[in-house]
């Protein structure tokens, strides 16, 4: 019952927006290539399921691969930086500068490096997008340990490794999951943007792009819907994992 009450406002707004969208098209006679009706998009989502859904799955796997690689590298990098401060001061500015490169600019180069049609180039783009938020947040988390807690562990003659395991890592976990939530959405964006610069014919980004070029905007929108749903699914998976792992954090409190 409490759940229902929590979700109700969002659900009402969602239904209202879709209804307004549908209504506005009928009232203002909006051309289909500008904005198709939600009902048509849903229809296309179903009729084109044999091409859109596998395409979505293909792109999702690229996003997932990039998410895993980028996040893992981010965690490793943050750990090294937190452990050896000199490494951090030497490398962090470069990592931040590299992140300032617009990802669109990097996409054609990733194609050249890892194969224009290959899923690897999309994974690379998604990984680059995920890397910095995960690094920055994890590092922040590892450095946020309460000095008193560390002192207490010292009073038990705890080793540096034990202090990491029992204090620094648990403190960093909520920070890490915040970053993974951001990264999960970025990964899907990275994979689709990568596909706009070339990809397998059955990839979602390629399909959306080609449908738009032949003015099949309804199918393009249906493709966007598939992409959003998959992005949400990945986000949801991260939130679910967080609930299991970080049971003590304030936002999971009753």
């Amino acid at each position: 019952m409490k759940r229902v009450r929590e979700w109700a406002p969002a659900l009402v707004v969602f239904v209202a927006v879709i209804g307004a969208w549908q209504g506005a098209i009928a009232v203002f006679h909006i051309q289909q290539f500008l904005l198709p009706k939600p009902s048509d998009i849903i229809k296309a989502f179903w009729t084109e399921r044999h091409t859109l859904w596998p395409a979505g799955w293909y792109t999702f796997k690229e996003a997932l691969g990039g998410f895993a690689i980028g996040s893992a590298l981010g965690v490793v990098f943050a750990t090294v930086v937190a452990r050896f401060r000199s490494v951090g001061t030497a490398i962090m500015p470069i990592a931040i500068a590299a992140n300032a490169v617009p990802i669109i600019a990097f996409a054609p180069i990733a194609g050249a490096w890892f194969g224009e049609v290959s899923p690897h180039s999309k994974m690379a783009i998604a990984a680059v997008l995920c890397f910095l938020p995960v690094t920055v947040n994890t590092l922040r988390g590892l450095q946020s340990a309460n000095p008193r807690q560390i002192e207490l562990m010292r009073s038990y003659a705890a080793s540096e490794i034990t202090i990491w395991r029992r204090v620094r890592v648990p403190t960093a976990l909520p920070f890490l999951f915040t970053a993974l939530k951001v990264a999960s959405v970025l990964a899907m964006i990275g994979a689709i943007v990568g596909e706009y610069f070339g990809g397998a014919f059955n990839a979602l980004g390629v399909l959306i792009n080609s449908d738009a070029q032949i003015f099949d905007f309804v199918t393009a929108w249906a493709g966007i819907l598939v992409a959003s749903l998959l992005g949400l699914a990945l986000y949801g998976a991260v939130v679910g994992t967080e609930r299991l792992v970080v049971r003590w954090a304030p936002d999971t409190r009753e």
């Binding site: 002192e151 207490l152 009073s155 029992r166 648990p170 003590w248």
Partner: protein
């Protein structure tokens, strides 16, 4: 055979490099087994620093500290003392029971033994029924009791307490004073208690060490010969007031150059 002191502080000096501050100057202090000793003085008299030096959490600039006949470092490595800070310093990701059992885990006790001891400690601090709660579900006073239970769980010979009740309201503080005394009498450990409340120091201690600031020195000792068990009535005993006055005058005499707010702090 003479009684060996639990803690021997000999010629300890501490200077901080930044600002060339002398926090402690040639401190001499022996603590006998079972003593409850309070360190009292205004901010900057080095009482917390002295406690941390005894616990080997800060090195002294010169001088030696012996705990249980060993170096302070060896004593820390052997788990000879438990420590309680002003904040409870509990781990949010651990339940109350697991917080109390943390030092036991560090000492490698097995699960069964740990559980038995944790249950015992929960009874001692009257928190039975809260074993599976998380720290943020408890009030400040309860959190500090968990912290005390954790410090005592492995029955250390020495308990170091750094203003443990400083952040609590007066009512909770007086109740926890009583509880602490009853625990101390049950366990018979030696306690070093840092505070800047004169009445708290007199009420709890067998001996009060009065310290003065700039540089941190021991201004004098006051033996507290109030009988045990001490109760709420002890605070109304005329002798209690005499002792409070003695401590206050020692603080005054040695601290002529106390700042007004430091004076106000020591009421």
């Amino acid at each position: 055979m003479s009684i060996h002191p639990v803690v021997q502080v000999h010629g300890v000096t501490k200077t901080f490099a930044q600002g060339n501050v002398t926090a402690l100057e040639t401190i001499e202090l022996d603590l006998l087994p079972g003593e409850f000793v309070s360190l009292i003085g205004p901010s900057g008299c080095g009482k917390s620093t002295l406690l941390r030096i005894i616990g080997d959490l800060t090195p002294p600039t010169s001088g030696t500290v012996t705990v249980n006949g060993k170096t302070a470092k060896q004593a820390r490595t052997d788990g000879d003392y438990g420590i309680v800070f002003q904040d409870s310093v509990l781990f949010d990701w651990r339940t109350v029971a697991k917080n109390i059992g943390l030092p036991l885990e560090m000492l490698g006790w097995d699960r069964e033994k740990r559980r038995a001891r944790v249950d015992q400690m929960l009874d001692l601090v009257e928190l039975r029924g809260f074993a599976d709660h998380h720290p943020w579900q408890l009030s400040g006073g309860m959190q500090q009791r968990v912290s005390i239970a954790r410090a005592l769980s492995f029955e250390p010979a020495l308990l170091l307490m750094d203003e443990p009740f400083g952040a609590l309201d007066e009512m909770t503080r007086e109740r926890l004073n009583l509880e602490l005394l009853s625990i101390w009498q049950q366990l018979g450990s030696t306690v070093v208690f840092v505070t800047h409340s004169i009445s708290e120091a007199v009420f709890l201690s067998t001996r009060v060490v009065v310290m003065s600031p700039r540089p941190g020195r021991i201004a004098g000792f006051v033996d507290i010969d109030l009988p045990f068990p001490r109760t709420v009535d002890t605070r109304e005993d005329p002798h209690f007031f005499e002792l409070v006055t003695q401590v206050r005058e020692l603080l005054r005499r040695r601290g002529e150059h106390l700042l007004p707010e430091e004076e106000a702090e020591l009421l």
